[in-house]
Each structure stands twice: as C-alpha cells, then as structure tokens.
Amino acid sequence: MKAINSEKKGIRYLFIRSLDTYTLLAMTAILTVFFLSQNPLFLSIGNLFNLIQQNAALIIVAVGMTFVVISGNIDLSSGSIIVFTSCLAGIIFSGTGSIWLALAACVAMATAIGAFNGLLISRLRINPVIVTLSCMIWARGLGLAVTNASSIPIDSAVLTTIYQPFLFGFINISLVIVAACFVLGWHLLKNTRFGRYTYAIGENENTTEQAGVNTKRVIWVIFILAAFLMGLASMVDLARLGSSIPTIGVNMELDAIVAVVIGGNKLSGGYGSFSKTLCGLLFMCILSNGLSTLGVTDDLFFLIKGGIILAALAAQITSNNVKSSYMRAIHAK
C-alpha cells in the first residue's frame, strides 16, 4: 500500500468520511430546535425520558433489524408480529390467568414465526420482501381475528413492575431490557463470528459460502433473532399499555427499517454498525415524539411524518453520493 496519504489525516477527509452521520445529526438538530420552539419543555428531562420509554419497543426491534439489514435482507413483519403475539398473550392471560405463560407464549410464538420466515428465506430462497410482507399481512389478520379486534386488558402485578422505577428514581426493568438488548446486540455484531458472518453475507453470500461458512444457517438465525426481539418488544409494549391493543404496532416496520437505514446502514448489506442505528433511532424518536407533542391530528401526522422521512432519506442519499465520489477520488484504482 502506498505511504499513508497525507490527505487522509486532513480535516476534510475525517469530515467527509462520516458525512452521512453528520447530515443525519444536523437534521435531527433542526427538528429538535423546531420542536423546542413550539414546546419549551421538549428537552426537559421528563420529556427525554418519555422519548425512550415510549419508543422502547422500537429500539428493541431496531436491534434485530440492524442484523437483518447488514446481512443484506429486509424484514417487514415487525408490526404484525407484535400485534399477533400481543393478542395471543392477551388471550392466554384471560384464559389461564397466568401472566408468565402469556409472556412466554408471546416470545415463543414470535421466535417460531421468525424461524418459519427464516426457513423460507434461507432454504427455499424466497425473496425476503415477499416472505415478510406476507407475514405482515397474515400475522396481523390472525391477531385481529382471534381477539375479534378488541383489546384485552391484562391486569397483572408482574407487568406493572416492569415499569416501576427501582433505581435512581427513574430506571425500571423496561429500560434495563432495552439497554441490555442494545449492548448485547452491539457486542454480538462486533465481536463474534456470527456478527462477522453477518457482514460477510451482506457483502457477498456466495463468496462467504465458498469460504466454508454455513450461510443458510446464519441467515436463519438472523431472522430468528430479529423475531425474538420483536417478541420482547411486544412484551414491553404490553406492560406499558396494560392490555393487548390490536391497533398498536402500526407502522412499526417502517419506523424500524427507516431508523436503521437512515442512520447509515446500507440496505444492500455489508456496511453499517450499531452506532449508525443509534443515530437513526435518535432521529426517529425525536420525530415521532415531537410530532405528537405538537398535538398533530392523525391524518396530518401521516402526511408530515411520511414527507419528512422521504426528505430525510433523500438528503442521506445525496450525502452518501458526495462521500462516495470523494472516497473514490482519494483512493488509487
């Protein structure tokens, strides 16, 4: 390799190398400033805390989604799996009265669905868009059907403790779960073979397979992991709402994928990290939270959120293009 290019240590290089992150943080800052102007309490500790609490499910799902995206795949079923498992938990609870059984069923069913989807994708080689899209449809339908589209209140002490602060006056079990998932996910991706294979498969599945890696199994596990996390997210939402509400989780799939992609993880695979997901989550949480504190009504909410997401994605792509052409110019052929 040629001697370290002096350009590389320059400020311009270091800046452009993370241009996509900076663009995202800039947009996040703009949004924050705007929301702050409309609501001076936006950056209060209370509201920031709310931000994380309300989006706990999203954060957990995004952890799994990061693996899916880096491996070059996509998973559209998060919202529906959450709805279905939550309804299932509600039914089991009202039937047996056992909260543990309900929660176990919730997570187990999610994992089972993930295993099913993963098999179709890795073994039968069916396009993940089709598999998870259809899952998105049938799982939600099944959930609505078995509960007749009505909520089932779950009155359980176990659930309330999940949201009871036990440390420093605000840390509760749900936050611990969220933090644990995120940290464990980060470690898994960065420091284990599984994580490395995720990157490799995202770059080129064939080459990775030739190197002796059981790519089919890795992809299968990725989808199982993602679905397991959806089950956890469902559990956390159940605890927050105190009942299973079949209309939650709407747009969760879009939010999770956008959070991961807008942060800078490439949908084509092989590139990204948890720090990027973190930035993406920051953006999405602030966007959702901000819009709801503005008291925006449903229809306008859709329009604005959709519009901002599209605009933000466009900005990200543009900054990515700038970055690639710069990088290409810097490195020799």
Binding site: M1, N191, T192, R193, R196, A200, T207, Y271
Partner: protein
C-alpha cells in the same frame, strides 16, 4: 519421484462443445507447472475439475497415488487443493486479517480474538515476503495487485499441497510479477506443487519448471521448460489456426480524416493525457496489461464512465458524450467483456436481444407505436444467419445459447443498428475456438465494408492477428502506436514496460 497429483484420461463436455478430451496431467511437489493454452483451450475447465466445481465425464484423479473423487469445493479444500482465480474471492468490506480468517476465525469462548488473528496474519504475510500491508485496512482500498497477493496468502494459510493460480499476472507490472514469483519460489521450497495458468510465454519460460499445453481441449505437449523454445510452445498452443488467422489483406486505409479522435483524455489514477485517432475501414487494436486503462478509455468514450478532462471529436466535430445513448446516436456501439452482466437480457429471446435497441424504426407510423413484428423478425433472422448463430429458432431464450453464440447475438444487435464505429472489449472471452474464428472473420468483413473497428484485448495473440494498427497502453498512457506487425515477444515486452530484463 511420484507425482503428488495425477489426472488421467479426463473428458468433459458441455452442450455443443467437447471442452476436454483425454487430458493427462502430472504434478510434482516443489515444482511450478504451467498450464498453457489460448482462451477457450480448456485450462480453466480442467482446473475447475480439480477445485471441485465440475465433475469430469470420464477419467481418474489420483492424489498421492490414491484415486479420489472431488465432489465439491469443500472437499477439494480438505484434500489440500487451493485455487486462486482471477476474479478474487475476497470481501471488500472486511479487513485483510478478517478476510484471511473468514470461516476459520480464532475465538476465545464466544468472542473473536482479533489480536491473535491480526498477529497471525502479519506472520503469514511476512513469511511469504509480502510487505507493506496494513492488515486492519478494509480490502476495498487495495489495488488489484495487492489483492491478488492477499488472496494467495489466504490460500496458503490453509496449508494446501497443491496451489493453482489462474492468470495471476494479467494485472501485474514487472515489479509485482517479480514479487509474486519470489513468493511462489518460497512455496516451491516448502514442497508445494504449483500450477501456473497463463498464456504469457515469456514468464512461463522464465519461471516455470514444466508445462502442459492444451489446444482445443487436448494435450498437445508436455515438456520441461528448459528443453523447448517459445516458438515451439506457440506452435503447440495454436497449431494451424495461427497460420490461418491472419488478415487476408491489409486494406488501404484513408487516413485523411479520422472517424473518431480522442484528445488529452485524463482520469485521475487511470488515464493520463491519452490522444488517439480511429479511421474507417481499419481494425485498431488496443492492448496492455489488465488495468492499464485501455478498457476504461473506451468506456469513457462511450459515455459509460466520466473523465476528468479531454475531448472527443466525431467526424471532425467536437462532441460531448455523457451517456451511452449519445454515443449510439453518434454511430458508436460498444460490446463489453462482461456479456452476462452488461450485455445479455438473459430471460428474453434472441430476437429481443437483437432488436430491442432498434425497435423505434419499426413503428407502423411515425406517431403510432405499434411494431411491425414480421419485419423485425425477418431482419433479425437475416442478420443471425449471416453471422451463423446456432439456435433452435429466433424465439429461444438467449440463456440457452452457448457463449460464442451469445456473443454473436449481441454483436448482431449493433449490426442491426448500422453503426459506424464498433468497439469490442475482449470479444472472444468465454467463446469456444470454433466461434472465435467466425467472430474474427466477421470483424474483418465489417472493416472491409468501411466500418471503423476497435478491438480491446489483453490477449496479445488476438491483437496481433486482427489489427491493422496496434496501440499499446501502460499505466494509463499510450506507450506506443505500431503500424507494422511486431513479433509477439516484442509486443509483450512493450505491454509490460520492456526494458527490465524480466
């Protein structure tokens, strides 16, 4: 001494082509054995049988005297056979160390021991004499030559007893080649049997111990390098075809006005101030090492890639070609070396593949978009027959045709459009020998009809046989323009930068 590996009586057939006929090969430990032959002679096929990608129709493979069946690439690896292809099997988004250990990572419990792997990688590279590589760098920043060395290091780290290298020097400069062979000599000392596939005779003569020559799927010679001359090797490689494909007559070319002229074309790190002229009725050959810039140059002229500066003049008028559409409108057509990714519409029929770019002129009326199918079919059939495309009928999906016929079909696409300048990059890559000569004849005919033809190829034999004029490129510059036909060795030296006694 017993051979480490012996292939006996190998036959392999693909639809329509007998790729290998009764091939025998003996490899000894501590020896560099070269596998010599033209494109399409069967070298890659033979090695793919060894690497587990193909199964022979007939024949035996003996490893250390014992017969073996190589059913898959994994099995080949277990048997100690490693192969380094020209298309590298490395992942760009991982670092050097991560690539070398892919699939065999060192772990402490569940976590990766990155430090240990890094240290081992440095050790492997040093043992092979490969220097100046930061093993933590992501692979995408390295140039092709370094990537090849890393790929070899990866193959070596699996401790094979047989290492096959498929055309490793196509992209390398002299210095790189010397470095490569220093590494290979170290391996020789360790007792590994090496197979070196190439059609670069000077290198083969200089570095290899023995060689097997393939022509049209059969072995025509099995010699010790010190016992034969280059000429003798060439004769075994090309047989009669060498004598037969020479241009029948070099035409008188009108050099008063070039059809296309490029001036001062520059692309950072690829091309440096390239200027040239192309004349109608002439076949101009561009050659050089892989990566010397000759294919990049034509992608730029065609509008498929962008240059930093430079001008292009078509028929004397300056033109800005920023996309292929403009090039086609100016009468230029390009066939790339990569027909599978950039040329074929695989799921469509031969008819579609030939006609789609030209459909606009088959409209029933100026404004009405309905196409006159009968006329399209008739015109395409005529062209297909004139280039002798072998197919069941013109509606056959093009993916069912052999490589040579596919190439002819894509060629026909441009013929239907009646263009003035046709550029072919590696026109006979992956084409069997029979179709090859048909394509050469075709190019010659086109030139005689007055079209300007450009052939870009790293195959110096091909360039020598085809071209009226040869332009040699090296490191992004034009090294020389040859009007009279040089000898192959002289051309090769020019391609590699001459001077240094290789």
């Amino acid at each position: 001494m017993e051979p480490v590996l012996e292939m006996k009586g190998i036959y392999k057939r693909f639809t329509g082509v007998q790729a290998l006929k009764d091939v025998n090969l003996k490899l000894y430990a501590g020896e560099i054995h070269s596998l010599i032959g033209q494109n399409g002679a069967g070298k890659s096929t033979l090695m793919k049988i060894l690497s587990g990608n193909y199964k022979p129709d007939q024949g035996q493979i003996l490893l250390n005297g014992k017969p073996v069946e190589i059913g898959s690439t994994a099995e080949a690896a277990k048997l100690g056979i490693a192969i380094v292809y020209q298309e590298l099997s490395l992942l760009n988004n991982l670092s050097v160390a991560e690539n070398i250990f892919l699939g065999r990572e060192v772990t402490k419990g569940l976590s990766l021991s990155s430090k240990a792997m890094r240290a081992k990688t440095v050790q492997i590279l040093t043992e092979l004499g490969i220097q100046n590589i930061d093993v933590d760098q992501k692979l995408e920043v390295f140039p092709l030559a370094k990537k090849q060395l890393i790929e070899i290091a990866k193959a070596i780290s699996m401790k094979p007893s047989i290492l096959i290298l498929d055309e490793p020097t196509a992209a390398l400069t002299n210095e790189d080649t010397v470095r490569l062979f220093n590494t290979l000599f170290k391996l020789k000392e360790q007792g590994i049997a090496l197979v070196f596939i190439s059609h670069r005779l000077a290198e083969i003569k200089k570095y290899c111990d023995r060689g097997t020559v393939l022509m049209n799927g059969s072995v025509t010679a099995n010699v010790r390098m010190q016992d034969v001359s280059e000429l003798q090797i060439i004769e075994s490689m090309l047989g009669d075809t060498y004598k037969s494909f020479k241009r029948s007559e070099k035409a008188n070319i009108d050099r008063s006005r070039p059809f296309l002229a490029g001036k001062n074309i520059t692309l950072k790190d690829s091309l440096e101030d390239v200027s040239f002229e192309i004349y109608a009725g002439e076949i101009t050959g561009f050659t050089g090492l892989l990566g010397a810039g000759q294919d990049m140059l034509w992608r730029i002229v065609y509008g498929h890639a962008a240059a930093n500066s430079g001008e292009i003049y078509v028929k004397g008028r300056k033109c800005i070609i920023d996309r292929p559409l403009k090039a086609v409108q100016l009468g230029i057509g390009l066939l790339t070396e990569n027909r599978k990714e950039e040329g074929l519409f695989e799921s469509l029929s031969v008819l579609d593949n030939i006609s789609i770019p030209s459909l606009k002129m088959y409209r029933t009326a100026k404004a009405f978009p309905y196409i006159r199918v009968k006329k399209v079919k008739a015109d395409c059939m005529q062209i297909a027959q004139s280039v002798n495309i072998v197919m069941r009928n013109i509606f056959t999906p093009i993916k069912f045709l052999s490589g040579g016929n596919q190439q002819k079909a894509i060629l026909s696409r441009w013929l239907l459009k009646s263009l003035d300048l046709l550029v072919f990059i590696e026109p006979t890559r992956g084409v069997d020998v029979g179709a090859k000569s048909e394509i050469y004849r075709l190019l010659e005919n086109l030139a005689q009809k007055g079209k300007a033809i450009v052939v870009v190829s790293t195959d110096t034999t091909e360039i020598l046989g085809l071209s009226d004029r040869i332009i040699v490129m090296k490191d992004g510059r034009i090294r020389g323009v040859l009007d009279t036909t040089p000898g192959e060795e002289e051309l090769l030296r020019m391609v590699q930068g001459k001077e240094a006694a290789v």
